[in-house]
Symmetry: C2
Subunit: 385 residues, 2 copies
Amino acid sequence: MQNFTFVNPVKIVFGKGVISQLNALIDPKAKILLTYGGGSIKKNGIYKQVKAALKKRKVVEFGGIEPNPSYETCLKAIEFGRKNKVDFILAVGGGSVLDGSKLIAAGIPYKGKNIWDIVKSYGSIVKATIPMGTVLTLPATGSEMNAFGVISKLSTKEKLAFGNPLCFPKFSILDPQTTYSLDKKQLRNGIVDTFVHVAEQYATKDLNTPLQDRYAEAILKTLVDVAPAVISGKKNYDARANFMWCATQALNGTLACGVQQDWSTHGIGHEMTAFFGLAHAETLAIVLPAVWKYELKNKSAKLAKLAENVWGIKKGTKIQKANAAIKHTVKFFNSLGMPTLLKKYNITPNDCDVIVKRAAEKKWNISENQNIDSKALRKIFQMCK
Amino acid sequence: MQNFTFVNPVKIVFGKGVISQLNALIDPKAKILLTYGGGSIKKNGIYKQVKAALKKRKVVEFGGIEPNPSYETCLKAIEFGRKNKVDFILAVGGGSVLDGSKLIAAGIPYKGKNIWDIVKSYGSIVKATIPMGTVLTLPATGSEMNAFGVISKLSTKEKLAFGNPLCFPKFSILDPQTTYSLDKKQLRNGIVDTFVHVAEQYATKDLNTPLQDRYAEAILKTLVDVAPAVISGKKNYDARANFMWCATQALNGTLACGVQQDWSTHGIGHEMTAFFGLAHAETLAIVLPAVWKYELKNKSAKLAKLAENVWGIKKGTKIQKANAAIKHTVKFFNSLGMPTLLKKYNITPNDCDVIVKRAAEKKWNISENQNIDSKALRKIFQMCK
């Protein structure tokens, strides 16, 4: 096991009807900036529940934070928040609203000239944030219980992650019932995103971390078990609750304790969203199997373990099991209606040369083995076609 | 799944040599009260490491916190801490030192006349604490990552748990190497204590919480796997690290999310320590199998799951599997050299009448089914003989 530091102060309030507990969680004196997305919360009743819970508080609103939240939109929200002198942010929505709100929370008190520096420095220059709470409506990114956000700068087609301990939400409210109005694509994306978060903290080198490995397998097995009931679209409370808790647990730091991590699938996927506009989970479902194929030998011990403990494959050599793990994972993604090949989006490996070029400029050497450079990336895109 | 609230702000610093990081974790201006136990830290070099890490800080020391920390000793430490105007407590030791230090941390700023009221109110009257950090040397109680403590009042033979969110340590330093000097009895007790912490959050009613159940099974399976290497006494770093992380994870609130809990084995065990002086884990190893036998039908679904997923028993009816789970658990405890019967300590069920009497006075109705009253308790002690 590697040495590690773990801390996660986020308060989770989970269950049926818990939005009603919102008011008590926020400083009574706070002037609240309520942030949300494209307005679905107004159609599905969540906005109404939030407003009812907040009673007669001082609230100003900023809607329109888009999927893959843009730097440009966040800038407007920061200006709006400064003008209104808000001192608490309540983000209501999915991972995009939460991620965008983290930049807004860091941006409002930021003294520097260029807010993009926050993202460009990966969050390291953040010295203060406005406190923030969330009401999660889409289980997927884990943003509700971590200190990270991913922001897209439209003008330069960049999509970058940033993080800082000051960006942890003070609380997150998770009512599985809020997921009832999600469509199948959103649910599918959430399941795949969660799966890949676990995978990137698991399918690396085996460093004798049996508890962390079993935790990871626990999330994956539970996801696989509940996926059919979730994706069916039926209002199955327990299935939604178990899915929602899996998504939060997948990226709250617990799985990362003492293990080697590999965020190359995310890194490559972010570029594909930036250049081609694919949804985050859509990129992951294409890239993960290809990265695993490319790193088959390096990852074989853990992939074989995945095959055994998640997919129930007990026979074969280590490499055969590792290959079977990839096959079963692809099959699982496909069973959710999730494509795993570039061609399904009419994208060719050649189209991905823009990403290869950027990887060369940035001198990428990603993956836990630091062996995915621009040349390797070209090969990986060939495996995605 | 039941509704739940989860929060745990403790910073964990885990690994080889991490005591050296101590100084940076404490406010430079703090006057530190260093608390410890019977002095083993002076023999095994941990005291030296801590003092070296603290450099030239203002430190006063209070040693002699005994196993099952006594109220009487804590009172002396509180007086000492007040006199020395300390504003940080650094607890170095096992769960007893940490538990006692939590009462000291709550007691120093306490305005009331009678400090026992803190324990008697189960911690609910705590309004302030001195901040506290820990260096853990004995994996067992989970106290390093929770807000609870258990205190024994010698004068009245009471042993009670208390807790308050203000009692969370600010940080806990876990270096698995600190466990090398533990003797087999301490290691055995730590393994059993950890096992029973998990069991009391798992072997209740099945409320469709597959992720939490798999987490619990993950800890139990890992414990069972590493136990022989740990108990051998050899300096096997990974075995110690995995054991240490299991013990912390077993009682940091994660397993309790959304499930039904049953702390009756602990409740009964505390009385046995108070009256007979048995070590905490020794009481648990006797009581747990008896409580499970008494509650066999109520707990059969989860006990059968335990049999299947931890002990690998795939055949038999639900009740047969539940019985097998008890048998295998007893066998595991015995394999560590841990007795599971009263007679090994020359105690008879009749001797336990003092506990039955107290249960009647306190009108016990413990267990998740609230069906263990004094009469049931008498039957349970018969099952322990």
